[in-house]
């Protein structure tokens, strides 16, 4: 089954605006992780939220988790051009050794 589906697939906003990306998953999870990928580059771990947490902050990032709806959101406040990237959510598979990834949201920040 697919785990970790982000929406929207693409998001284009003006610099300074807030960007919200959503992720849905199907099975129960231990945690949910968000990663960023600049075009053609590596994956950068942004934030991890555990199943017993509802909200977590890191700088301009705010992540929420609703286990009853099996969904998470990533909010980037006061966006900058450097935030232009693809954002992925990922959740552990039952085996506990691998992450299952969503297709990602491509975020474009227009100057």
């Amino acid at each position: 089954s697919q785990q970790g589906e982000e929406d929207p697939q693409a998001l284009s906003i003006q610099e300074g605006e807030n960007a919200t990306m959503n992720c849905s998953y199907k099975t129960s999870i231990n945690n949910l992780q968000w990663y960023r990928q600049n075009s053609g580059r590596g994956l950068v771990h942004l934030i991890l939220i555990r199943s017993n947490e509802r909200e977590k902050h890191s700088g301009r990032l705010r992540v929420t988790l609703d286990t009853s709806k099996k969904s998470s959101s990533l909010l980037i406040t006061a966006s900058r051009a450097a935030d232009t990237a693809s954002y992925f959510c990922a959740t552990p598979r039952g085996s506990n050794y691998q992450l299952i990834w969503g297709a990602g949201t491509k975020l474009i920040i227009k100057p």
């Binding site: 990663y35 590596g42 552990p92 598979r93 506990n96 050794y97 691998q98 992450l99 969503g102």
Partner: protein, 115 residues
């Protein structure tokens, strides 16, 4: 800040050839992983490695693939006889604890092109 280093950044190989992708994980990390991302598709798990053995592998990781930690610093992924469909970005990652519980540090990736 410590980094995971991958070499080469881009490799072009002919179908049927063997390739070795190299990774230098963060020095105090104990868990090592390979993931891949076919262009435009999702990131996919290949294999995890701990205590000098494979912890888990996906169905993608068939007999054509192997991993090795030949010394205290390198972690390699070998593809014995490459196929066109092996063309992808290959990411190495490492973690101090199990990455699924704490997050991974990824390298910048090796773009493998099989022609």
């Amino acid at each position: 800040e410590p980094e995971v280093t991958q070499t080469p950044s881009h490799q072009v190989t002919q179908m049927g050839q063997e390739v070795i992708l190299r990774c230098v994980p963060i020095s105090n990390h104990l868990y090592f992983y390979w993931y891949r991302q076919i262009l435009g598709q999702k990131v996919e798990f290949l294999v995890s490695f701990y205590n000098n053995e494979i912890s888990e592998k996906s169905e993608i990781f068939d007999d054509q693939f192997s991993v090795e930690r030949p010394d205290g610093s390198n972690f390699t992924l070998k593809i014995r006889s490459t196929k066109l469909e092996d063309s992808a970005m290959y990411f190495c990652a490492s973690s101090e604890e199990q990455g699924v519980f704490y997050g991974y540090t990824f390298g910048s990736g090796t773009r493998l092109t099989v022609v």
